[in-house]
Symmetry: C2
């Protein structure tokens, strides 16, 4: 009987801790400043130029730790409303200050210089994620 | 001693199950078709018109269950590269088929009709999220 009670206590404690950790993860996830970047490359940009740019962008989060999350992809929308943009990069910051630090970071500026010769159009929109 | 062994077994089992659940969550999360929608409203759209549109968009995921995740926000970028777009909606689907079902869904079409009188510009880009 005492054994059973102990089991129940242990399982309850572990479930409570796991639940707390999950709910805190959710809360931490709510403070998300999204930074959406769209590129259209020049027609003269070769596939290898575009790959160089994409790889350099993907390498930024490791160099600029204020980037909390990073993902990207190329347009697959069938709606034909992408206005010529082909690449979307989606970064997440935890604060305005972190986003501002990213913008002026030397590695970000170096990336801008690498990108510039191949870039036709850019669009950037930042938003605080709401449900 | 037997009690201690039982404790260890129970805790190990719970940790293993929790770890498995988390790793499966991560895997499920990797198949993400992002659907990014930007709006610029007409200058004649009143704040209450824009609120009506935004609320109607926010109500779509409950009506169209293929929408796996939904978030939105208004532009706060200091870079002045948003090309006039003020609102970003960020939806996630698990497959092309789900995204296609969303596009033709009667509730989505009804939303398009509600939006149309107030809309100046729209941009849509979809991508498969890569790291």
């Amino acid at each position: 009987m005492r054994n059973a009670a102990m089991w129940v206590s242990v399982v309850t404690a572990v479930v409570l801790v796991a639940g707390l950790a999950m709910s805190q993860g959710d809360k931490a996830d709510q403070k998300r400043l999204r930074h959406v970047v769209l590129f259209k490359f020049k027609d003269t940009a070769k596939p290898e130029d575009i790959k160089t740019v994409v790889d350099a962008f993907r390498a930024l989060p490791a160099k600029i730790p204020v980037v909390k999350r990073f993902e990207f992809g190329t347009n697959v929308s069938p709606e034909n409303l992408a206005q010529g943009f082909t690449h979307c990069f989606f970064l997440t910051f935890g604060s305005d200050a972190d986003r501002d630090a990213y913008i002026v970071h030397p590695e970000h500026k170096k990336f801008g210089e690498l990108l510039h010769p191949y870039l036709d159009k850019v669009l950037v929109i930042d938003y605080w994620a709401e449900k």
